[in-house]
């Protein structure tokens, strides 16, 4: 199977879902696309068949299986994940973990031939004992305080066992690092968008970014051409946090770790839009991923870490002046 005749995308309102849909429509207009989400997104392409399904609903697997089979869907992109963790841990768990389980059941029942999962290198977890470059074979240790990361680790485990049981299916797991670019928005970009950025005092970790277009290109190739396997999707190069902030003209606000963690926890509890406590470990310990396998499969990224960061910074600056 080269290009599938019919594909389904879950999480149409997520960044990956929305933008991969647009890329697929441009690249392969003949492919019938089925969109799955809670509500119909505003301004959806009329050629896309929309199905309102709540993945967390216990009967959704049966409905999805019926739907996928009836429409002859050959490839599925699963991107129904939250970009901002919510304080409602239960609801997030139901949607991300249990919702993925329902989708996997439906894919098995409908004999889908290709499955692409949107994951993240955040799942490796920021640990003091990480090697400088994490390969795809490194265990996913997540972060004990970040429930959204824990959910996604569970999803990856579910997909790994599912792949064992369904050998004939091309399963691609894409793990992008922090995405930067003019259009991308999540809790990380809102953290970096401030002019004064709180950091962990005494730490200056190496960070890597991937540009949104490079990230989306990997998803498009995996969905339309098929690249079974697990891949880190990252940009070339690493830079220390201090250099990133300096090139962007932002000011770091170093706060001692215990105080910062406690404050971060309080602020995220009352939902001020601040990142949760676990987030600051990602600015303390190394969790840089090795991109060699991904670059070999999806081609050289167009943007390095620094270029992705500068494209994010300059686009935010334009927005402020407009």
């Amino acid at each position: 199977m080269r290009v599938p005749r019919s594909i389904a995308i879950t999480g149409l309102r997520s960044f990956v879902g929305k933008r991969v849909l647009r890329r697929v429509r441009e690249a392969e207009p003949e492919v019938q696309v089925h969109g799955i989400d809670l509500q119909r997104p505003y301004g959806l392409d009329p050629a896309v068949r929309f199905h309102a399904v709540d993945l967390a609903d216990p009967t959704s697997d049966g409905r999805l299986a019926e739907l996928l089979q009836k429409e002859g869907v050959e490839a599925v992109l699963h991107a129904a994940f939250r970009s901002q963790p919510r304080a409602d841990l239960e609801a997030d768990h139901e949607l991300e973990t249990i919702g993925s389980l329902h989708l996997l059941h439906a894919c098995a029942a409908a004999r889908v031939r290709r499955l692409v999962l949107a994951s993240s290198t955040m799942l490796y977890g920021p640990r003091p004992d990480n090697p400088n470059f994490l390969t795809e074979d490194h265990p996913l240790r997540g972060h004990p305080a970040a429930h959204n990361v824990a959910n996604r680790v569970e999803v990856e485990e579910l997909v790994a066992t599912w792949r064992e049981r369904h050998q004939g299916v091309e399963v691609t797991v894409l793990r992008p690092c922090w995405v930067m670019g003019p259009g991308y928005q999540d809790s990380v970009t809102s953290y970096f968008a401030r002019s004064v950025v709180p950091t962990v005092m005494g730490y200056d970790p190496l960070l890597q970014f991937v540009h949104e277009e490079d990230c989306l290109r990997a998803f498009e190739i995996a969905l339309l051409e098929g690249r079974p396997g697990v891949f880190n999707v990252v940009g070339r190069g690493v830079l220390p946090l201090s250099t990133l902030l300096r090139t962007a003209g932002k000011r770091p606000l170093p706060i001692p770790a215990p105080l910062l963690y406690r404050l971060g926890d309080q602020f995220s509890q009352v939902q001020t839009g601040d990142p949760p406590a676990g987030f600051y470990d990602y600015l303390r310990y190394l969790w840089v991923a090795d991109g060699e396998r991904g670059w070999a499969a999806f081609g050289e990224p167009e943007y390095t870490t620094l270029e992705a960061w500068m494209s994010f910074v300059s686009s935010r600056r334009m927005r402020r002046y407009r």
């Binding site: 647009r22 003091p128 004992d129 390969t135 250099t243 770091p252 167009e302």
Partner: protein
């Protein structure tokens, strides 16, 4: 669909044009920052002094660095600054004498294996410095977990070439053509009390020899005499160490009595001897699975370094000798 996301026809041109623009902007910014610093040094202006202080407060614990670092975080600008201090420490403070440097292979990466001593990784820094002075290529030194994630030490160690000690990192460095300095005794060696000085501890679990066999690089035994007396540990306070979250808290003649000044090492006389390289490539990669061979080689290596240390200790006239 919102109009700002609509894509123009000549997209490739636009992307490459934007990339060029980014690069240009970046270069301008870095140049401007450098010039601003250079100009400020010249004149004395109260406002500028205040501005400088404010900036310094903003980057407290995050030293100013150059715009580019290598993939392990080594910063050429910070290194050049550190080199001057190291040169002074080597020549004036410890009056380091070296032997056997001429035999160190120059055109291939090697794995230096040294005895560990002193609380802070001065031995790694000094070995790296003398090797770089002789061969022109700077080896990286491996650092224990607890030190590499210690606040304020973490950014600085990475800048001058310290890398967390683990198999993946050692392999990556050797593959990239960097020589590596390893201290297989680990924290056991660094935290020996004075009564146990120059008595080499167990060499971990043979990981050093295994890495050399797998990578096919020569092992170079290195003995350091004098570093034990730079920070003689009288005894260790375990209960206090546990309370502040350190693996051990030493008591030396100067620390903690003199506060931070107690961290200044004593000016003992150092002798560093490089032994004959041990070739591992002719053993073949199958040898890396031979546990008995590995443990025997590890023990031989330890015995050799021990005998080198003993010989140099007998030869010296006194701890602070001329």
């Amino acid at each position: 669909m919102d109009p700002e996301d609509a894509r123009p026809e000549g997209e490739a041109d636009a992307v490459s044009g934007a990339l060029d623009g980014l690069r240009r902007e970046l270069r301008l910014r870095l140049d401007a920052a450098e010039n601003a610093v250079a100009e400020r040094v010249g004149s004395v202006d109260l406002f500028e002094v205040f501005e400088k202080l404010r900036r310094a407060a903003g980057t407290f614990g995050m030293e100013e660095r150059s715009g580019e670092v290598d993939e392990f975080g080594l910063d050429p600008v910070a290194l050049a600054r550190a080199r001057r201090v190291l040169e002074w420490l080597c020549e004036r403070w410890w009056r380091v004498e070296t032997a056997g440097l001429a035999e160190v292979p120059r055109d291939e990466p090697v794995l230096f294996v040294a005895n560990h001593s002193g609380l802070l990784p001065y031995d790694g820094l000094v070995i790296a410095h003398v090797v770089e002075r002789e061969t022109g290529r700077r080896p990286r030194f491996l650092v224990a977990d607890w030190l590499v994630t210690l606040p304020f030490a973490q950014p600085w160690l990475a800048q001058v070439g310290g890398v967390r000690a683990c198999r993946e990192n050692a392999h990556r460095l050797l593959r990239r053509g960097h020589s590596v300095i390893a201290f297989p005794e680990g924290a056991k060696g660094a935290a020996k009390v004075f009564a146990d000085r120059y008595r080499l501890q167990r060499f971990g679990r043979g990981g050093v020899v295994r890495v050399a066999l797998e990578a096919g690089v020569p092992l170079v035994p290195v003995s350091v005499v004098g570093a034990e007396e730079a920070h003689p540990i009288l005894f260790k306070m375990h209960s206090v160490a546990r309370a502040v979250g350190l693996p051990f808290l030493p008591v030396t003649p100067t620390f903690p009595w003199l506060g931070p000044a107690g961290l200044v090492p004593l000016p003992s006389k150092w002798r560093i001897r490089f032994g004959a390289p041990i070739a591992t490539d002719r053993l073949g990669s199958a040898a890396a699975d031979d546990e008995v061979l590995i443990s025997r080689m590890t023990e031989e290596l330890r015995a050799e370094i021990q005998s080198m240390v003993d010989a140099d200790r007998r030869a010296r006239s006194g701890v602070f000798g001329a």
